[in-house]
Amino acid sequence: MGNEKEYIEIFDRHRQLIEENSAALLNEKRAEAIQKFKASGFPGRKDEEYLRSDAAKLFAADYGMNLGRIKANAAPHDSFTCEVPNLRAHQEFIVNDSYCPPPANISPMPEGVLLGSLNEFAKTHRELILPYYNAQAGSGDSIAQFNTTFTQDGLFLYIPKGTKVEETIQLVTILHTNIEQMSNRRILIILEEGAEANLLICDHAASDKKTLSLQTAEVFLGRSATLNLFEIEETGYSNNRLSQTYIKQQAGSRLNHCNITLTNGFTRNSTKVTLAGEGAEANLTGLAICDKQQHTDNHTLIEHKVGHCTSNELYKYILDEQSCGVFSGKMLIQPDAQHTVSQQTNRNLCLTDCARMYAQPQLEIYADDVKCSHGSTVGQLDNNALFYMQQRGIPLDEARHLLMYAFAGEIIENITIEPIRERLHMLIEKRFRGELNRCKGCTLCKKQL
């Protein structure tokens, strides 16, 4: 055990400070989490799940942690201007791992909807949150346990029965620091029966210092609830991210989850979906565009607990220069989950001979009346198509861009919010042309850099 010891000591030494600055509910879960963390330590190359993404080494740096909840010197509501044109969104901000309260004039949410700081709501709505907080992440791996041990704030979203939130909720997380810093944020989303919401999470960085952000999100979808969850990461090469998303779906609920990684340092997104009610549907899509030494790992597990559920997965990677892509997707069909329809596709483009792709599409099936398939390919751009375009006067570079653009297009078309879709088309085109090598999402970043 290496760096674990340091963090365990930090926790023991500063436990009082952490607990003073957090809600009792968050504190209650820490003891169990630290025990579980102590037992397993940071996952590294020896763990099958982290075989290609050595998480343990990320913790070697000497990060600062904002345990005393010192307010960040930033007013994102004033300085952030979203570059997505025509997007009518309700904006919420998390700077590092602290929630920034919105200004008074922000448009109100429909009645009964709770949206804001997890830490504050854990104090005022303890009874509501208690059955949900850490219910899924509690059995997660040691990164989730680490997050539960240290987390002090994050976002809470609750949508009551039958309420539809028309306006897209946009959560912007910004890394804003002058030192090497670690942030532990937590997101809890509860949609009651029949509720609907669109949530867009934009992950930005305003710092070229080495950072590590741990994000654990727990999502609960009640009967027939619908959630469109989009995550777009546009951080920098020095920003590392370990994200864990746990989603539990009841009967008839629908999830569209899209995870797009445009620029980053080291990213591992783990998504676990549990289909616990009949007729639930989960659609997972993902796109990673990497160059230089970027490392992007998407790790998914879809567990079909009951029958008559549907899941679809489509993940695409475009790997340039010395970048590394990892995809590991597992579909787990439990014995009683008859009539499951499950499909998984992973397609990858390697553009240089230094780029590496590791793909592990997996099936674990314990029921016989199911339709399950997966496919994975690694290849290059179609030479015939390139030749065809060159024949017609399109230069080779342009032709390559067009093909890659089309390759990525399949993912973007799944995004149901039109302004975001258009914006992504533009971002990806920029990305291919090498114009997007750092976050340009907000003026905050521009000022900083």
């Binding site: 780029a355 793909a359 592990q360 099936i365 009346d369 199911v370 290849g379």
Partner: protein
């Protein structure tokens, strides 16, 4: 129809293992347990040279530092390596009948349908028959020798061709490779050795038949095949064991070296005792098989039909080192009752323009678990590598499991890798269609399963294909709920 198929299900489950008899042969078995003295004893019994004993001891000392691997999707009960006897010799005879093979032994192989007598020369297959730890007889040796082909038991090869063996043994599967490879390297008792000289096309199929007979023993055989430049050989392997309540361990190593322009075809029909319907007994089959396509334009093809063993842990692999080399893997793995299988292949592309094909068909019935685990690795310099993998699973019954764990590690931009997998069951429609045309449910399932596995069975040599087809229908007919 439902009821009918349930009856058939039951019939299959109750179907006795055909090769489960025990032969009453006087067998010399050494004390149970494993230590350096046992290894020295085995080596001494086989009159091995000093370097061989050194090799074994090195492997044993390394094995002591290892732990049993747990990564496979298998539930392996703890194995007490000290309660196994590591050497059993059924050929030990009195001085009188020095040259004759024990008639009981002959009977056993006759019963198994293995032609040890020249009267069965018509089958055009040379056989090396191995029972427990010792090779009983190798047929057609002389005929093969005329062409310069060496086909004999491993112990004989160590005595007579020590230079050849020493050059190649352990170069594909080192004793440091894994837990079972280290164990096998320490205690391996016999197996086959094949050497095909330059430019020779082996005129007949070579075959080894493995039989475990003695109780409380493990079988640890080692096969080494060397195909020199421009040669060709097709090699078959079959295996059976008696029905016993306790589990028996079988840990083998197969090493294949394929030189320039050579081709090796390796086919296995694995039918070790799978245990009874309650999951008692059966053979633990932990095998390391690997071929090294060293030469340019070399080709190695693995074909396997896995129907037996309580637990199978087996990944026949190809190292595609030579430019333009080809690797193929065709597999049908059938599990029934409480059998568990974790099997697949590794295709390691190192040379330029290398190609590999993986076709894996898993069939699970009863309460069995059947996994495909495979790796396709394209290294940095393996330009223009091409791989196609297809893994299909057929589920017969609602209590069994079918799993797929493919790994793709791609380090080269010119690689084209495709992987596909599907899981399904025999549809009621297909059965109904056959029933309509007067084909009984049982027969229909046999037809459908055979059709499903056809792609692989077609790759087997003629005699084997027929045997495999029979085996499939025995294991599976009627397994639809």
């Amino acid at each position: 129809m439902k009821k009918n198929s349930k009856n058939i299900f039951k019939k299959i489950a109750d179907k006795a293992y055909e090769y489960g008899f025990v032969s009453n042969i006087k067998t010399e078995i050494i004390e149970r347990g494993l230590n350096e003295d046992v290894i020295k004893l085995i080596s001494q019994k086989k009159h091995e040279p000093e370097w061989m004993l050194e090799f074994r001891l090195q492997a044993y000392r390394y094995w002591l530092t290892l732990e049993m691997p747990t990564w496979a999707h298998l539930n392996i009960p703890a194995i007490d390596y000290q309660s196994i006897s590591y050497y059993a010799d059924p050929t030990k005879k009195s001085k009188k009948q020095n040259k004759e093979i024990d008639p009981e032994l002959m009977k056993t192989f006759d019963k198994l349908g293995i032609p040890l007598e020249e009267r069965l020369a018509l089958s055009n297959t040379a056989v090396d028959a191995v029972m427990d730890s010792v090779s009983v007889k190798t047929t057609f040796k002389e005929e093969l020798k005329e062409k310069g082909i060496i086909f004999c038991s491993m112990s004989e090869a160590i005595q007579e061709y020590p230079d050849l063996v020493r050059t190649y043994l352990g170069t594909v599967v080192s004793y440091r490779d894994n837990f079972f490879a280290a164990l096998n390297s320490a205690v391996f008792s016999d197996g086959s050795f094949v050497y095909i000289p330059k430019g020779v096309r082996c005129p007949m199929e070579l075959s080894t038949y493995f039989r475990i007979n003695a109780a409380n023993t493990g079988q640890f055989e080692r096969t080494l095949i060397v195909a020199d430049d421009n040669s060709y050989v097709s090699y078959l392997e079959g295996c059976t064991a008696p029905m016993r309540d306790e589990n028996q361990l079988h840990a083998a190593i197969v090493e294949i070296i394929v030189c320039e322009n050579a081709e090796v075809k390796y086919s296995t029909v694995q039918n070790w005792y799978p245990g009874d319907a309650q999951g008692n007994g059966g053979v633990y089959n932990f095998v390391t098989k690997r071929g090294d396509c060293r030469g340019n334009n070399s080709k190695l093809s693995w074909t396997q039909v896995e129907t037996g063993s309580a637990i199978t842990w087996k990944y026949p692999s190809c190292i595609l080192r030579g430019d333009n080399s080809q690797g193929e893997f065709y597999s049908v793995a059938v599990t029934n009752n409480f059998q568990q299988a974790d099997t697949g292949t590794k295709m390691i592309h190192l040379g330029r323009n290398t190609r590999s094909t993986i076709i894996s068909k898993g069939i699970s019935a009863g309460k069995s678990q059947n996994s495909y685990r495979g790796l396709v690795r394209v290294s940095k310099n393996a330009d223009n590598a091409r791989n196609y993998s297809q893994c299909d699973s057929l589920l017969l019954g609602s209590k069994c499991g079918a799993h797929t764990f493919p790994y793709m590690d791609i380090h080269n931009d010119s690689a084209i890798i495709e992987h596909e997998a599907t899981t399904s069951k025999i549809s009621e429609d297909q059965l109904f269609y056959c029933n309509q045309r007067g084909i009984g449910t049982e027969e229909a399932i046999g037809l459908i399963v055979n059709g499903y596995a056809k792609e692989v069975l077609n790759k087997l040599p003629m005699e084997f294909a027929i045997e495999a087809q029979k085996l499939l229908s025995v294991s599976l007919e009627g397994s639809v709920g």
